[in-house]
Subunit: 255 residues, 2 copies
Amino acid sequence: MKYLGIFYKPELFNKALSLKNLLLNEGYTVDYCESSERIKNNKVDLTIVLGGDGTFLKASHLVNNPLVGFKGGRLGFLSSYTIEEFDKFLKDLKNDNFVLDERTFLKVSELNAFCLNEVLLIKDPDQKMVDIKISFQDGELFFHADGIMLGTPTGSTGYSLSLGGPILLPNTKAFVITPVAPQFLASRSIVIPDNEKVNIEVDESVNLIIDGANFGKFSKVTVLKSKKKISILRPIDYDFTKSIKEKLGYGKKFL
Amino acid sequence: MKYLGIFYKPELFNKALSLKNLLLNEGYTVDYCESSERIKNNKVDLTIVLGGDGTFLKASHLVNNPLVGFKGGRLGFLSSYTIEEFDKFLKDLKNDNFVLDERTFLKVSELNAFCLNEVLLIKDPDQKMVDIKISFQDGELFFHADGIMLGTPTGSTGYSLSLGGPILLPNTKAFVITPVAPQFLASRSIVIPDNEKVNIEVDESVNLIIDGANFGKFSKVTVLKSKKKISILRPIDYDFTKSIKEKLGYGKKFL
């Protein structure tokens, strides 16, 4: 890995600049940008993301090669190091001392758009509750609710968790569907195999939000597993349960 | 399918007797028993279960050939017909007019015991809360709770649901772990790939309940996917979402 890209949140311009100089000094070729245009060409071996999970999600849509995230915000399931750990990262990179953490994407057919966390169909704040029909190979379900979310295992620690959903280990071959504020108590999540093609129909047009970005109003979308995958570079001692213990306190040992 | 077994709940003796005569009249060979001994030999092509999900669970442990359940109780995710539908079933059987619904089992290594619904480790009512450690390939988690449940997709509509767990479509290659009355808010379920081997350690001996049957006190068990599977005969129009809509009202259309 000699050709590195840096993708940074505007607020972290200074950090990005100093990292760039550090990497150039170490003999790496660096493609350095705030905009996504140059990373998009996938020439870099590794994209370094400076920012929170939101920045990482954006970057993940643009590249197919491995990424590594440096945490800016409070939570960061997608980041592997804190910004203070540049030196540790450089050492790990030199020594090839990391593991690759593979993550699955969803695809929204109508837009050919990728999704690492979740696809959310949600009404406007002043809109009435909507009727939603979900159908897949194994049947169909109806919800009268504010909206519906279909998430990946990666997304299960994101907004899905706020909606009351379960945590899915990253390598679980499944997706999770959770209604948003459903009527009639049906607030439980449903976990489906990742080879299901999910059709969502809403009786009114609602906002289609993919990984936090609004794609406009839709009343019908088809969501399925994408061929796109990414690998996230992780420190050699990374394990997923560590991150949910540290970041959520879930399954943490209290002494 | 010419050699049929009948496995019935004692209360349904009369129903079993009349079904036996019906089947003999139709030219089937019938192995008819309340006790499990004769079904155990797996000579029958199909085991007919008369009773609720509890009776079905028992039967499922004893056979490897297909089963078909006739509902006695109020809920019945495992039953395919009501007891009143004998005639419809006979017609379906003759015409080979059904689908096979395959279900996965867990295995508790220490006992070589099979589990179709859930493995539950739970303290006695007058025992103090226990410290539980769960470990698998991807890490480890700790809970201070009354107990812990590891369930299959089949079990996800059983006790797992009462504990607040998600619903898993039957063919999802995953298991679900849910703590029972955990301290410190960590009450969410965690969904894991079905190829994980799960070690559960408790700081005190607690009850090991497998599919509702108490196997005595244990402080350490290893649970993993079993090679054992069963096929459940279903009417041709069966789909899992129908049963959760009808039995739980989940995802049901309200007009």
